[in-house]
């Protein structure tokens, strides 16, 4: 008899509020244990500074984010702008890499199924290159693209391309055959079938694959930045390592986590609002 009560209570709060409360509780518990360990002097604040320590001194850590602010005597606003610029650089690289990965693998995957000849020519190479870790591509990326955004974006793209091309193929192959057959009966040409039927039919599934690979994309950007393609949060991580600055390291980890969290929510919203149907 307790079921109706539970239902009635749920109506009090909308779903997202309940989810938010649990998220806060979860983070608070984790941070609380950490703070407790610091308070009990079990954790050395030089090595494991608790959240309130590495989060409070934004201006100190922010100053270390970039060469220009590190050496000079920047104003507070300049420091905050530097943090935002660094976060923005990393985020843009991830987003552009994701878009490139999605668009190109979708195009290549559909071309492989559209033209059997193209498929026969391309598939063996894709299968050969798919197992190569994006790290293996890193020197290539820097040789071809030099420093800056391009090699980082290229690595995100490479990390996604093979997985998503293979996912595109598998999604096309698993479509209900009646989708294509009814289009054929209604007089659709092969091109029309691919553009008007297969493309919308596989988009939601492909977007799920994209979301799953978001965190891999974020990781690969940090790795690229940490070996010095120029700027970004990955570079800050390496600065923290080289200067043994635990406060900077944890602050950066916090920012990276937050970026990933926000990107995931954004992708989920796109999925829910734009790609609402199930393949």
């Amino acid at each position: 008899m307790s079921a109706p009560t539970v239902k009635a209570r749920r109506k009090w709060l909308p779903g997202f509020a309940t989810a938010a409360i649990w998220s806060i509780a979860s983070v608070a518990l984790f941070a609380g244990i950490w703070e407790f360990c610091w308070y009990m002097r079990w954790a050395n604040p030089m090595l494991m500074p608790p959240p309130h320590m590495f989060l409070q001194d934004v201006l100190y850590v922010g100053k270390l984010f970039d060469k220009s602010t590190r050496l000079g005597n920047p104003s507070d606003i300049e420091i905050v702008l530097t943090i935002l610029k660094t976060v923005g650089a990393t985020t843009m690289r991830v987003i552009i890499g994701l878009i490139a990965g999605l668009v190109v693998s979708l195009a290549v995957g559909m071309a492989i199924r559209y033209s059997p000849l193209f498929g026969k020519l391309v598939m063996p190479v894709i299968n050969l290159l798919a197992p190569v870790s994006p790290i293996g591509w890193l020197p290539v990326a820097m040789l071809i693209f030099g420093l800056g955004d391009a090699p980082a974006i290229f690595l995100v793209y490479i990390a996604l391309f093979f997985i998503m091309t293979l996912a595109t193929l598998s999604l096309i192959d698993r479509l209900p055959s009646s989708y294509v057959q009814s289009a054929r009966i209604m007089g659709a040409s092969r091109l029309q079938i691919f553009v008007l039927v297969i493309l919308p039919a596989i988009l939601p599934g492909l977007f799920v694959v994209l979301r799953i690979n978001l965190f891999a994309a974020l990781m690969i950007v940090l790795i690229a930045e940490s070996v010095g393609v120029g700027g970004g949060l990955g570079l800050v991580v390496i600065i923290a390592r080289n200067t043994f600055d635990a406060q900077l390291a944890f602050f950066t980890m916090f920012i990276i986590g937050a970026v990933g969290f926000v990107l995931d929510i954004a992708l989920r919203q796109i999925q829910r609002r734009v790609l609402y149907w199930q393949a």
Binding site: S178, Y179, Q181, I185, P200, W277
Partner: protein
């Protein structure tokens, strides 16, 4: 009654569908070749309602796909209004067991999809689709998405989509098999109405004897695989037919007898295949 433009272009007296010694072997030339259809000959008249009845896997769906032009036959020939079938054509519309509506389109966009392919202007094709949706009892559901409809409503929408192409032949592959009994009976009545109004010929696949009796002018009973005609049973009773009608009782017994042998044969064959697989393993 007949507003089917395609039918008028046919040679006079040619049947809507004519199957001439049709055979189909799946995977021909391989060691896994399966003969699905053998020496199947049947003429379907204009505005005739023919039900194909048989055990599962007897090739009745295969025949439908061949007539639709979605698969190539391996023997014989199929003609639609005297013209050899070489590929799919919107004059022969196929309705699938599970609705093949596109989930990313609204109901009205689904129904007008074929008209869009034909290049009909947006406003005009929307009008046609809306009228058809009213005809199939889905007025007011234009902007719903397929997954917001019940199974029965989805099949109505699928019928509307087929009718939008003004086909002279409706091919239906167990279209009501996934529906509950009450919905199924409702949709059978609905289909009879549609069939009368459209003037199209219907080829309807089922393995339900009661469904066959409710709908058919002629019931074509299949043999087990390879499928061919075991018997053709004409039903000359007015519709709607009452399942309690004594005439239908006798007919049902007759159809049950015809089917029973074939179901036994189909089972025996399946067991044989299973035994073979066991020996192989």
């Amino acid at each position: 009654m007949s507003d089917v433009s395609n039918a008028t272009t046919a040679p006079d007296g040619a049947p809507a569908i004519s199957c001439k010694s049709v055979g189909k072997i799946w995977g021909m030339g391989t060691d896994r070749a399966v003969e699905a259809l053998k020496d199947f000959s049947l003429d379907v008249g204009q505005n005739e309602f023919v039900v194909l009845l048989g055990p599962s896997g007897c090739g009745k769906s295969t025949l439908l796909y061949l007539i639709a032009g979605l698969e190539d036959l391996t023997a014989g020939a199929i003609e639609g209004h005297g013209v050899t079938v070489t590929g799919p054509d919107s004059d022969r519309s196929l309705i699938f067991q599970e609705s093949s509506l596109y989930p990313w389109l609204s109901v009205v966009e689904n129904v007008s999809f074929g008209l869009k392919l034909r290049g009909m202007a947006k406003g005009k094709r929307r009008k046609v689709a809306e009228r058809l949706l009213v005809d199939v009892g889905l007025g007011g559901f234009e902007s719903k998405r397929p997954d917001e409809l019940s199974g029965g409503m989805r099949q109505r929408a699928a019928v509307a989509r087929a009718l939008a192409m003004e086909p002279s032949v409706l091919l239906m592959d167990e279209p009501f098999a996934a529906l509950d009994v009450q919905t199924r009976t409702k949709l059978q009545d609905f289909l009879i109405q549609i069939w009368r109004d459209s003037g199209a010929s219907v080829l309807f696949v089922t393995h339900h004897i009661d469904e066959a009796m409710a709908l058919a002018d002629r019931v074509v009973v299949f043999t087990a695989r390879p499928g061919t005609i075991k018997s053709i049973v004409p039903i000359d009773l007015p519709r709607p037919r009452d399942p309690r009608d004594p005439e239908l009782h006798a007919l049902r017994d007759h159809l049950i007898d015809l089917l029973a042998d074939e179901v036994d044969r189909a089972f025996a064959e399946q067991e044989q295949i299973a035994d073979k697989d066991k020996i192989r393993a």
